[in-house]
Symmetry: C3
Subunit: 356 residues, 3 copies
């Protein structure tokens, strides 16, 4: 917890404001539009819209800002963050990967390599990823499918791929020196198995994994059940992968304001597949509507149950349904508040559910 | 975890002993009375009651205390803490707030201000609170009620009130720059909505919230269901709000020995509404009796289930029932032991269930 | 989390390799045997088996190892760890204790003392234990049994024994200065009660407990129900106690590679009783097969539910069933990866389920 600041080193307030403002100018968003018609009491009509120009640094040294000025400055940083959302950044992960078909076998190619990944606007960091994406490309198959996964390692370390949650034969389990030798730098390895069990699963490195998964070697492995009647009917089926290591607090590889909002039409039903690839718990809190929990680690719960804050531990997957009944833009964030907000505004594990 | 000592700086051993003794003299408690009739084996009959007077500091410097003396000293600190319980401190939070009625609307006034809050005996700390209380006054209404909440901000920072768990219209959701502009220092804002869903909810700041909630801007918002038959019949209905930020590890704004015990008559049924407003999990452990979990975040669980240690994550609320069948004074504490005890005795997230 | 390295100071790479190799030579294990027939692609045929002799220290100073050499060195450390598993260490805890019968009362003797405990090969640390074991000897009785437990304290501090989860009369609850005076160094105390409720419970110190439990004063207290038909029929009934304090990350008092594997024949049913005596959550992840959760804190869940990653909080006990259907050697570890693996290989909370 205490490393929140460490993981997400705040840029200088001034730099952030500048960037936030530019982002707002460049990308008119629904939220920016929304801001112009917020309810405001007379008392706060002089709010951020008329924030005074930032004082010169030396002026600040001569006369420290008053309490009121400091409050204005803080609010302006918060506003800039929100107005920048959803901020454009380079790179997008979790893209559905289409397999090549080889005599009925679905064939996937995964290349592990180091890239520079833009976690939030202007914050580029070294990442170890599959196929240039963070999270890696989404693998989505059906129970009983035959899959073959070629892994090529272009990293400076050996690696291994573990199919977390899938009850594969042991020689396909991806644990170095227990089920296979690690895949050396420059080497390749091929996994092949018949997909044994449905649900929301993951694939990730199982070699030096605290580092390698922390650096981004992770992705969603979703298995639809053979019997489609077992599946709830939904309009939107989405994945939210949590991480808290090398790139700070992220949702699907991005930190706020670069996180992607979830957008639904009123009346639609959404399925969210939470997956925690980090080292800490993250109790995800949705505003305005509740979540109905239907599955844990890919297995149906005996009976669905409701909540608005779902505690997701490392390695866990939880599937929930949300009925998008309440129109508006709703904050959706980790309720360990130090993973979501600082005096500089919201960051990290924050996104929004927008019900239109 | 490692900041337990940091958050709860132990006063000097000597000062604590002195204070503990005075507290015991001043406030005869059931526990103090209890202590006089504890079972004791001959071997330990020379226990704390006959603890030698504390050595002079310079004497200690000349001849270090023996192991036995150190054990006695530690026990004496532990005993003083327990004997001081429940220790009187200034200020009590979570007091039920009576609304003013305005043509059928229940009107509440909340003023945010900084106070000095006595967390445990003699430990006064700056707190940001609603109506001078920590937790803020308890709001208790019924599903379908119309409520109006005037918020006046007397803090040096802007703030906002979020009704955590209530599915209000979006413009009442209290998220700065998404649903409203923040309430500036000196300014006011009025929330008004029809209470949409029953259960154990919370209200708290949603602006610079890691700090503001950590400093105390939080309270319980309890909604009774329209259909009373849905409610379990209980003799005692109580709230336990956990926090772990600015004031150390606290239950309802106080650290042991200033926490309030839960007192029941044998045979009574108790409902406890746990709410975590902190940044860490707290697995609350009740001695002597189990808890039956009936609701999560205000929503009934599909079937009640039993436990004695309930893990409560930030932002979560859990409702449990306890049948007070086992007479005695029972420890009730967070089972992250560093949140509850040190070599200086129990502190922080410890209270007792007393079954008479 | 950040104290992973602190709690488990890595020995020098060279020392570890040397030890790992010796352990492998001394103790031929199923895993070591397994390693010789691992699938290997041509590309990685030059793997750890042909790792070059470690360079002389001064040579390393002259010419830093290449990336490839560093990758080889890391893999060799990982391999040595796995090959050493299960490593022999002195001392084994959780041994079933046979009571003496005194006119129908089951009488147990527990002596608290300090020992040197071998946590992992060559890592001997001071531990405070019951009867020389870590975890303490397993107490296993039946609902309704009369038990008497003599506790002798040979530690330099006072202590107390709390029967965590058992709904005993209050004077047997073991909380110093609330239910009894602490047991002084050199003194004894006798607990006696009729076992009130079935399930997976624990006994541990409740005095200066963050230290004393952290140092090892803990054990399993298992109560079989009077009505045997309530129990699932299993072939293997095992306990896994998690700890994360004085001895680093441990399972039943040992860190990998000294943890004990769970060995089952294909088709057998296993019951695992997880107990967390630490200060952190531990989401335990089983590869290859799922777990069916049947009880929490000794109480049946309303309906069994399935998972592969079970989050266990401090003080909690969870009972799960595993059908050993998938043959092979399966990793079984805490999914907070920093509790299980470093660049030096796996350590701490790692074991294996071997299905033969």
């Amino acid at each position: 917890m205490s490393n929140a600041d460490h993981l997400n080193p705040p840029t200088s307030r001034r730099a952030f404001l500048r960037r936030g403002t530019l982002a707002t100018l460049a990308i008119p968003t629904s939220l920016a539009a929304l801001n112009s018609c917020l309810p405001a009491k007379p008392e706060e009509a002089r709010a951020a819209s008329s924030a005074p120009p930032a004082p010169e640094p030396h002026a600040a040294a001569v006369a420290p800002p008053t309490r009121a000025a400091r409050a204005e400055e803080m609010d302006a940083m918060h506003e800039a963050g929100v107005k920048a959302f959803p901020a454009k950044t380079e790179g997008k992960g979790n893209l559905l990967m289409s397999p090549r078909l080889d005599r009925g076998v679905k064939v996937y190619e995964l290349t592990c390599s180091e890239v520079q990944w833009e976690v939030s606007p202007g914050k580029r960091m070294a990442a170890w990823v599959y196929n240039g994406q963070l999270p890696g490309p989404q693998i989505r198959v059906r129970e009983g499918d035959r899959v073959r996964i070629h892994v090529k390692n272009e990293l400076p370390e050996s690696t291994c791929v573990h199919f977390h949650g899938l009850e594969v034969p042991v020689d396909q389990d991806g644990v170095p020196f227990i089920t296979q030798k690690p895949i050396k730098p420059g080497a390749s390895f091929t996994y092949e198995f018949t997909v044994p069990n449905a649900g929301s699963h993951m694939y990730h490195s199982h070699h030096n994994a605290a580092k390698q998964v922390g650096m981004g070697l992770l992705g969603a492995f979703i298995v639809e059940p053979k019997d489609k009647s077992r599946e709830p009917k939904v309009d939107i089926d989405t994945v939210m992968i949590l991480n808290d290591m090398a790139h700070g607090y992220t949702l699907n590889g991005k930190g706020f304001p670069a996180t992607e909002p979830l957008v639904a039409k009123r009346g639609q039903k959404i399925r969210i597949r939470f997956m925690n690839e980090g080292m800490q718990i993250h109790p995800m809190h949705l505003h305005g509507m509740h979540m109905t929990v239907i599955a844990k680690d890919g297995w149906d719960q005996p009976a669905p149950w409701k909540c608005d804050t779902l505690n997701i531990a490392p390695g866990e997957r939880w599937d929930v349904l949300v009925d998008a009944t309440n129109p508006g833009t709703w904050a959706f964030h980790c309720h360990i508040l130090t993973h979501a907000e600082s005096e500089h505004g919201m960051f990290g594990m924050v996104t929004a559910l927008i019900v239109q």
